[in-house]
Amino acid sequence: MAGPPAGVTPGAFFEAARASFDRAAARAGCVERAVTLDGSPVLIRVAGGALADRVLPAFAHLDAAPPRTAELAAPRPLVVYCADSATAGETVAAPDWGPLGFGPKCEILAFQGSDVRAVFDPVHRLLHAYDASSATGLFWADSPAAVPWWESSRPLRPILHWWTEGTTRQAVHAGCVGTAGVGVLLAGRSGAGKSTTALACLRGGFEYVGDDFVLADVDRCVAHSMYSTAKLEPRNAARFSELRITEPDRPGAEKVVVQLDRTSVVDRLALRAIVLPEVTGRPGSAVRAASPASALAVLASTTAPQLAGLEAESFVKLGRLVRALPCFVLEAGTDLHQIPVVLADLLEELR
């Protein structure tokens, strides 16, 4: 694998890509959305309305509240530039230093050791890049239509993940629901029942932070909302017919995407426990104690494959989280109305 020749740096690549965004924005206009994520401002700038419709809706619930005063180890303000080749009339050229070399999660290995991280999905042709020196992100697709449904339901995930480096924040593949400001983190593999549990709780009057990815402060044990979408397996979607499905028509769709109203999503909950749903097939639901080791194994092994880079740091952060919170298995029954009752009882015990 070739490294950058003298004078050509990952930073230069990033700046060239940024310049491509500027030209795209000049050509197609720029849609901006300012949000606050765990007290830190995030500005998302999208070239063209069509791509904005694919990137911004999942953040619709996040307010652009004024940031709190600076806190130790809080992420710096983040700016993300989003564009696509069809709108821009140009393509971001790959770094021009020979074979790039990619890791198993599509990370560009030649960037390792620099301030710039990048992943390139060669199937869907999505580029995510992040320059840690300026806390700046870049997202580039072939066209708005080429942005797949799963990217649209949880956009900019790699960039938000890299942005947390060196802080107490960690993007976690988990849901989070609760009552009266306190909640539980729902962790499990695909099909374990995280989304069904989270949405059953939402229907049962719970506060809802997320069902797929949340931003956890592992020291303060707080979960912050990242996205206002939820994903369901098609066979479960009929059980939530009142929800607005935004991505139904895909051949052989393994998941449908639900766009929740902003009033349905709270921006944070204080965590009281980690809960690992397990579908039982029986009507009733119950909770039983689980080991922190089992919770860490589930959290880490389901989070890391979806986030390129910072694996060791993420593992250590998640280890802190499972040591700080009691862990339980939710034996999730087929009677969905019982699930929020069981979790409400658990939260009452832990309050």
Binding site: A93, V123, A293, L296, A300, S301, A312
Partner: protein
């Protein structure tokens, strides 16, 4: 006739472990594979990774668990956590394995257990050989 190896070394240059009261969780950062080991398994793994031979480890962990050490060592090798020590240097990296501290009770341990988490469905693995488009990016057809 080849004798089974008796000494081992860590196979990964970047193994991170978390040790809990009775269980260890380990991740090979390079491969993204996760493992959990019960107390006996973590103890055996830690002692072998520290360079002790099978006979010494068997004597250390007591009769109940000791008879499983050799077979468990083979399993650790098969899962890529250890490799036979053959004189080649250990991979350079930051791997350390936290060693369980015996609680002094002398209570017998359960037989060693190792669970490998191989949920790689969300990984987008790149083939080593791929075409490159006009902009220089790799091209891979959807599966």
């Amino acid at each position: 006739m080849d004798h089974p190896p008796t000494r081992f070394t860590l196979n990964s240059a970047n193994l991170v472990t978390e040790l809990f009261e009775d269980e260890m969780v380990a991740v090979d950062v390079d491969t993204g594979r996760y493992f959990s080991l019960n107390l006996a398994g973590a103890t055996i793994f830690g002692l072998l990774a520290a360079g002790h031979d099978v006979a010494t480890v068997s004597a250390t962990v007591g009769v109940t668990v000791g008879e499983h050490v050799a077979a468990f060592a083979e399993e650790l090798v098969a899962q890529g956590l250890l490799r036979p020590r053959d004189g080649t240097p250990a991979p350079a990296g930051s791997s350390t394995v936290a060693l369980p501290v015996p609680d002094g009770s002398g209570a017998p341990l359960d037989p060693p257990q190792l669970t490998a988490y191989t949920d790689m469905q969300d990984l987008l693995l790149l083939d080593p050989i791929h075409d490159v488009d006009a902009a220089g990016w790799p091209v891979r057809p959807p599966e």
